[in-house]
């Protein structure tokens, strides 16, 4: 009898286990930016059908005026609140190219993430072997447990790699052997961690007029979690004495009351014409009265503030007036900007105001610039044009993907200098680099009715007629689970929620479904563009969020407090972004169920695939191939891995590299694999298991005649992959 019972029990467990087998743990990367201050677009509807590249009064400069000489002129003044001298920008320099080197976060100066190397090809990629491993030594401590998401991509210039760890420890590593050359620890305090400890990379700058043995003739510049800009000598790792205050600049200046963890830098600055441009991450969902989203340009040699762009106060060009701060709570830029050395512009993918899901208190300026790509002239610090991708953004659809400079084929058979912008809602826009005018059709779609703010919402939204990564609207049949019972639960949840497709407005009386969720579409990994074959490679997420606005009384009952009012560390634990975020100042807090995970099983309510990778014809915007990205090997219900090497499509964060050799290298998914994909077919030709999560962009470079692939295996707290401190290099065996 006992045998019978146990058999039944085993069978039932098997049933459960089989069904459970592929539920990807779902964590969303943090780079979903602020839930907080909302920049509310003033009116909603957009008049023209041509999208909106709006001139802001500055005449676009075809070629910016070069600075008269190399020495930074501005810094003559001592007055701290004087207007910044706007002529510090230098002459256009010839940027280093990608190939042997990987000199920028996005590869070459155009941020294409394309490498012209072709030693590794589809025919020999299965021979790739691990050639060295470097460990930064930066692992979570008791205080920082559960908060690490390094997301790091190294640079490679000359014979060395330059990289940063989760807590901003800088190191230089031999490109051939992986041995450490130098290391510099800026000693960032654990309290400075905002959403997660991340350092997506560093920037490299070479003084145009220095002698080789001059200290800091070549330097590495990094933005830190505690909002400093740090410059060290690329050869020695020593702080640059001539930069700011002995090698560092305090970005908290002009921001207001310093609250550790609220204002942090996680991306490398973009250095254009000798100006290092940086924004910062403002921790989502806290309060409308939050640090400003001001964008600032600093002289890359002296660290002097060259200019500041405060969209809430165009009169401010340097530091704010004595006793004041930059306009609080305005849209910020937490992701990577792109520099245009030739035009002297920097292109900023902007996020949302500091309260994401409610826009009633946003200013007109916030509504104008939120969730837009903004072009700033680095020689003046003034915006030249901007293109808004979401109006009155109440979905946390901030632009997370770095924009890529391309030459876009036009009708006359030639090309137009253009900029390609992927987005979280999936649309890919292509704009004229100089004017911001769309080079592809922009369609206006009507948004669904409903939501707590009624008429305040934008009636229409600009979607791309060129390409979107977005899939069809969800249906009840798309709900998932392990057994019919939990699938039924998700189906009920679907029917109970408000949902009318993309841009369903936020509700408080019941849940609403946001699809795509705030992790994209495309996020900070951005896309790669094979400019020679005209192919875009985009990895994307395919996951909804299941949200509800929480009325203020209820939020108070739940004791949801913003970061500047929290009593202790324990109150600000590591929870998913948006999960009970206070949104102080707004009439509602927000509860985001990121990934729409069912209770008990933790399985996403939407069926797989939850992420994919796609090749797109650059000229026409047509899909060439589209496949799920990620296997089920590490995923399972209740967090138990299933070890099934079946392709399923998992959430992913991080981007790809495309090579002339015809391969796409990407990790990103939650299966801890780094893989090589055939650019022509989308087939995975090679993969290797990483010792930790691969949520980072890889790089490809050449050293001593050998092509190397390097990826960080750092893991990610919200993607729920194991954390590590590895940088791992692969190459073909030496013959």
């Amino acid at each position: 009898m006992t045998r019978d019972l146990s058999r039944t029990g085993v069978a039932a467990t098997l049933a459960a286990a089989l069904s459970l087998s592929v539920c990807p743990p779902f964590a969303f990367a943090q780079d979903i930016q602020p839930a907080a201050s909302d920049n509310t677009p003033a009116s909603g509807a957009d008049p023209s059908g041509e999208g909106e590249a709006v001139e802001t009064g500055e005449t676009p400069q075809g070629v910016a005026t070069p600075a008269p000489d190399a020495t930074p002129a501005a810094e003559a003044d001592d007055a701290p609140d004087a207007n910044a001298n706007t002529e510090v920008a230098r002459a256009p320099a010839t940027p280093r190219e990608v190939g042997t080197d990987w000199p920028f976060w996005g590869g070459g100066p155009n941020a294409t993430r394309f490498s012209p190397l072709d030693q590794i090809t589809p025919d020999n990629v299965d021979q790739l072997e691990k050639v060295w491993t470097y460990r930064t030594g930066d692992m979570p401590t008791e205080k920082t447990e559960g908060k690490y998401s390094p997301e790091g991509t190294p640079l490679k210039i000359g014979d060395a790699l330059y990289l940063c760890s989760a807590m901003n420890v800088l190191s230089s590593v031999d490109a051939r052997t992986g041995e450490e050359i130098w290391r510099y620890d800026p000693e960032v305090a654990p309290e400075a961690i905002p959403y997660g400890a991340s350092c997506r990379g560093v920037a490299y700058y070479e003084l145009p007029d220095a002698s080789e043995d001059q200290a800091c003739a070549t330097r590495i510049i990094e933005g830190t979690l505690d909002a400093r800009l740090i410059a060290v000598d690329a050869k020695t790792g020593e702080p640059c004495a001539d930069f700011g205050d002995n090698g560092q600049v305090d970005l908290w200046q002009g921001i207001g009351k310093k609250v550790p963890g609220w204002y942090a830098v996680t991306a490398p600055p973009a250095i254009v014409r000798g100006i290092a441009v940086t924004g910062a991450q403002v921790k989502d969902g806290q309060a409308e009265d939050a640090p400003s989203g001001v964008i600032r340009g600093y002289d890359a040699v002296t660290g002097e503030l060259a200019w500041a762009w405060d969209l809430g106060d165009p009169d401010i060009t340097g530091l704010p007036p004595e006793g004041e701060t930059y306009t609080r709570g305005t849209p910020n830029m937490w992701t990577q900007a792109t520099g245009d050395e030739e035009l002297g512009y920097v292109y900023l993918p902007m996020g949302n105001s500091s309260v994401d899901y409610y826009g009633g208190n946003r200013s007109e300026a916030e509504n104008e610039y939120a969730t837009s790509l903004v072009a700033i002239d680095v020689t003046t610090g003034k915006p030249v044009w901007h293109f808004q991708t979401v109006r009155y953004d109440v979905w946390d659809y901030d632009l997370g993907s770095q924009a890529t400079l391309i030459d876009f084929p036009n009708e006359d058979g030639g090309t137009t200098p253009a900029i390609l912008l992927p987005s979280k809602q999936g649309d890919i826009y292509i704009l004229d680099r100089e004017t911001g005018e769309p080079l592809v059709p922009i369609e206006e779609i009507e948004t669904p009715e409903g939501g707590v703010e009624g008429d305040a919402y934008a009636e229409t939204q600009p979607i791309s007629g060129y390409h979107t990564l977005r899939k069809d609207d969800l249906t009840e049949a798309d709900m998932w689970g392990v057994t019919p019972l939990d699938q039924l639960f998700c189906r009920i949840a679907f029917r109970e929620a408000a949902y009318e497709g993309i841009y369903t407005h936020p509700t408080a009386d019941r849940r609403w479904i946001q699809y795509p969720g705030y992790n994209g579409g495309s996020d900070w990994g951005s896309v790669a563009v094979d400019t020679e074959n005209g192919i875009i490679v985009a990895n994307y997420n395919d996951v909804p969020n299941y949200n509800r606005l929480i009325p203020r009384e209820e939020a108070d009952e739940r004791n949801l407090k913003p970061i500047n009012e929290k009593q202790s560390e324990s109150e600000s634990g590591s929870k998913a972004e948006g999960e009970g975020d206070p949104q102080a100042g707004a009439p509602y807090a927000i509860d985001v169920n990121a990934g729409w995970r069912a209770p008990f099983t933790g399985i996403p309510c939407k069926q797989p695939p939850l992420g994919g990778i796609r090749a797109i014809d650059l000229k026409t915007g047509e899909t060439l191939w589209d496949r799920p990205l990620g296997t089920a090997r590490r995923n399972g219900p209740f967090g138990i891995p299933s070890f099934l090497p079946l392709s399923i499509g998992t959430p992913n964060n991080g981007g790809s590299v495309v090579t002339r050799g015809g391969l796409v290298f990407i990790a990103a998914a939650t299966d801890n694999l780094i893989r090589a994909i055939d650019l022509k077919t989308g087939e995975t030709l090679w993969s290797d298991v990483l010792p930790a999560g691969g949520q980072a962009n890889p790089i490809v470079y050449e050293q001593d005649g050998r092509e190397y692939l390097v990826i960080q295996a750092g893991g990610h707290h919200f993607m729920e992959t194991p954390v590590g401190d590895y940088y791992i290099a692969y190459a073909l065996p030496e013959n």
Binding site: M1, R3, D4, L5, R7, T8, A11, A12, L14, A15, A16, L18, S19, S21, V22, E476, A477, D478, W480, G481, V482, T483, P484, L485, D486, Q487, L488, F489, R491, I492, F494, R495, E496, Q607, P608, P609, I648
Partner: protein
């Protein structure tokens, strides 16, 4: 029910079937309840039928009746048709729709020997109670002669389900 068929249902195999029935009720009740709610919300009606099918299967398992198998088979076929109608050959989508029901199918089929013996036993009891036809007598004698031990011994009635 006569005493004969009652005692026919006291074996270990029968209790396994009862445990299965309990499992089916544990799934079937919320599926039926949730299914009614889902239909009320404008959703699929499938779960109402699935829930009823599970509960009916459980009922007849407890009664050690072969009807349990037929009812579950019907439920299963209905499920397969519905699953393919909803999602076709999308295999990941079919996991929640088909895997657990298939496991249940295997378990239900495994109770067939129990249910058949119980059915046979019921039939014999009925015949014994309702009239001693020559055939019935002969068949009883036949079965009795085949079973040297006590006619209603649970041991011999049990299938090799244990």
């Amino acid at each position: 029910m006569t005493d004969h068929s009652n005692s026919a249902r006291r074996g270990a195999g029968y209790w396994a079937a009862v445990v299965l029935a309990i499992v089916l009720v544990l799934f079937g009740l919320p599926i039926l309840g949730g299914g009614v709610y889902l239909a009320w919300l404008g959703g699929s009606w499938y779960y109402i039928f699935a829930g009823l099918g599970l509960l009916a299967t459980a009922w007849f398992l407890v009664r050690a009746s072969m009807l349990a198998v037929w009812i579950y088979l019907l439920t299963f076929v209905f499920t397969v048709v519905w699953a393919f109608w909803e999602k076709g050959l999308d295999w990941w989508a079919q996991v929640p729709r088909l895997v657990a029901p298939t496991v249940i199918l295997v378990l239900v089929l495994a109770t067939i020997p129990v249910l058949r013996r119980a059915s046979n036993s019921q039939a014999r009891s009925r015949d014994a109670d309702h009239g001693k036809s020559h055939q019935a007598t002969e068949s009883r004698q036949h079965t009795e002669s085949r079973r040297p031990t006590k006619p209603h011994s649970t041991k011999t009635l049990l299938p090799t389900a244990s």
